[in-house]
């Protein structure tokens, strides 16, 4: 399983970035060039978020492990 700290898209981080960009826009007088750049980034994030929102399923996997004694080699297998 890829750890969540790699480059995989993390919804929470992306959403937080979108909130930060919107906060910047709520200033009274914005610089037009910077605004256009930030807007582009904001749209890109929004597009990715909407894409993730379009996903239909959650995935359930069972950890195959006897929990009475946790040993070094553990494995995760998929269930239906």
């Amino acid at each position: 399983m890829p750890p969540k700290t790699d480059k995989k898209f993390h919804f929470d981080q992306a959403f937080t970035e979108l909130e930060q960009i919107t906060e910047w826009f709520e200033k009274e007088d914005i610089d037009l060039e910077e605004g256009l750049t930030k807007f582009e980034r904001g749209l890109e994030i929004a597009r990715k978020l909407k894409e993730r929102l379009g996903e239909v399923e959650n995935r359930v996997e069972t950890i195959k492990q006897k929990f009475a004694d946790v040993v070094e080699d553990d494995s995760v297998e998929e269930t239906v």
Partner: protein, 422 residues
């Protein structure tokens, strides 16, 4: 017939009895009395019923639950005669609480103990991410709590991964399973955003694992924030107090751990709209400033046109001496100038064109162009243009400049007229 020495007898007795009276074979049930702990390690108490009493001995670490006088318990162990005193004691391997009252009391004691240690402290409770990517779920997959949790989760959100750690949520193995699951999750802590520990409702005996000290400590030392949702609203377990987030039920746990996709979709859309709105206003302001600038530019060009026109007028005046009619040219310039001013706001690109036209017009008023129409310019020996006959003497040398070249000439006579018939 065997003659024993005293200590020999005690050893024999203890061995013999232990072979069929031990913690695997039996337990003794009764009420606790005269409970005391010595040197923080040795526990002594009596166990009794209406007609009898027995001494009990245990090591403190083997007692998994707090014991108090008056509690009804089951002790598992073996009887032995202590060499020094000759007294019989039950040597205890483990103790179980019996009955709602005992369990409740133990719960109160454990709650106080852990609270005093700071396990319930609000300061250490960690926030859970608003939108998790991967959830570790500790529960029994056979229980209704599991299906309830998943159903609500699926209703609200998609695209999340759930890793199920299947455990017993009650019974003998429950505590070991749950503690083991937390140990596993801690080893892979970077993979998980949140842990959910959940089960359905039940009696105090059913919920015993969730009031267990080892489970409480496992939740407390979890590297990943923990959401605990047990049974019904009114059920309160120690696990609930230690949790980073307490959910009232398995369903509520699902509500706490993922957002509703409709809310998130709305939040994304409204943020984009805010950005669009602000950006549009900024662009309108910029356009207004540009419009102002164009207005000033238009004025500036108008100024240029006026200067050109006055230049033409003074040219006109000198042109009269040459007998040139420039009237119609001025009108053309006026028309062009009007076009320019009117069209400025919309046809900036054609400004260039207009200026070129004006240049051509000016060029046509150039003296050289006049010469090409057959007129001549007269200069004296100093090269100065002769406008007045009085400025040259009769017999003086003059140069007549024509379009195609010049003539050298001498003044024969002078008539003194300053204007030619038009």
């Amino acid at each position: 017939m065997h003659i024993f020495q005293v200590s020999e007898f005690i050893l024999y007795f203890n061995d013999a009895v232990r072979s069929f009276m031990n913690e695997q074979q039996m337990a003794i049930e009764g009420e606790v009395a005269e409970y005391k702990v010595s040197q923080q390690r040795f526990v002594w108490f009596k166990i009794k019923d209406a007609d009898g009493v027995l001494d009990c001995f245990a090591m403190l670490f083997s007692l998994k639950q707090p014991i108090e006088d008056g509690m009804k318990v089951r002790v598992y162990g073996y009887p032995k005669i202590f060499h020094r005193s000759g007294k019989l004691s039950i040597n205890i391997a483990r103790v179980e609480l019996v009955g709602e009252g005992a369990l409740k009391r133990a719960f109160e004691l454990m709650k106080k103990k852990l609270s005093d240690e700071g396990l319930f402290s609000t300061e250490r409770k960690r926030p859970i991410p608003r939108i998790p990517e991967r959830i570790a779920l500790i529960t029994s997959p056979e229980a209704a709590a599991y299906t309830d949790f998943l159903r609500i989760l699926n209703n609200r959100w998609s695209g999340v991964e759930i890793h199920l750690a299947p455990v017993a949520v009650q019974g003998r193995d429950a505590v070991a399973n749950i503690v083991g699951a937390f140990r596993y999750i801690n080893k892979h802590a970077t993979q998980y955003d949140v842990v959910v520990l959940t089960r359905g409702g039940g009696s105090m005996e059913d919920l015993a694992a969730f009031n267990d000290e080892a489970v409480a400590r496992a939740i407390f030392s979890s590297a990943v924030p923990v959401v605990v949702g047990v049974g019904h609203e009114r059920d309160e377990t120690i696990a609930d107090y230690v949790a980073d987030v307490r959910a009232s039920t398995p369903t509520n746990a699902a509500e706490r751990v993922v957002p509703d996709r409709r809310d998130v979709r709305f939040a994304v859309t409204s943020r984009v709209q805010i950005m669009e709105h602000v950006l549009t206003r900024a662009m309108e302001r910029r356009a207004a400033r540009l419009h102002q600038s164009l207005g000033r530019l238009s004025e500036h060009v108008g100024g240029v046109v006026r200067r050109v026109r006055s230049g033409i007028e003074s040219f006109q005046r000198s042109g009269i001496r040459f007998g040139i009619a420039v009237q119609e040219k001025n009108t053309a310039v006026s028309v062009m100038a009007n076009h320019m001013t009117l069209g400025m706001g919309h046809h900036l690109g054609r400004r260039q064109e207009r200026f070129v036209a004006l240049q051509r017009l000016l060029a046509s008023l150039d003296p050289k162009a006049v010469l090409r129409r057959g007129y001549a310019m007269v200069r004296d020996t100093g090269g100065r243009v002769v406008k007045d006959p009085d400025t040259v003497d009769v017999g003086a040398q003059i140069t007549i400049q024509l379009a195609g070249g010049s003539l050298g000439a001498r003044v024969i006579s002078s008539s003194g007229q300053t204007s030619l018939p038009l």
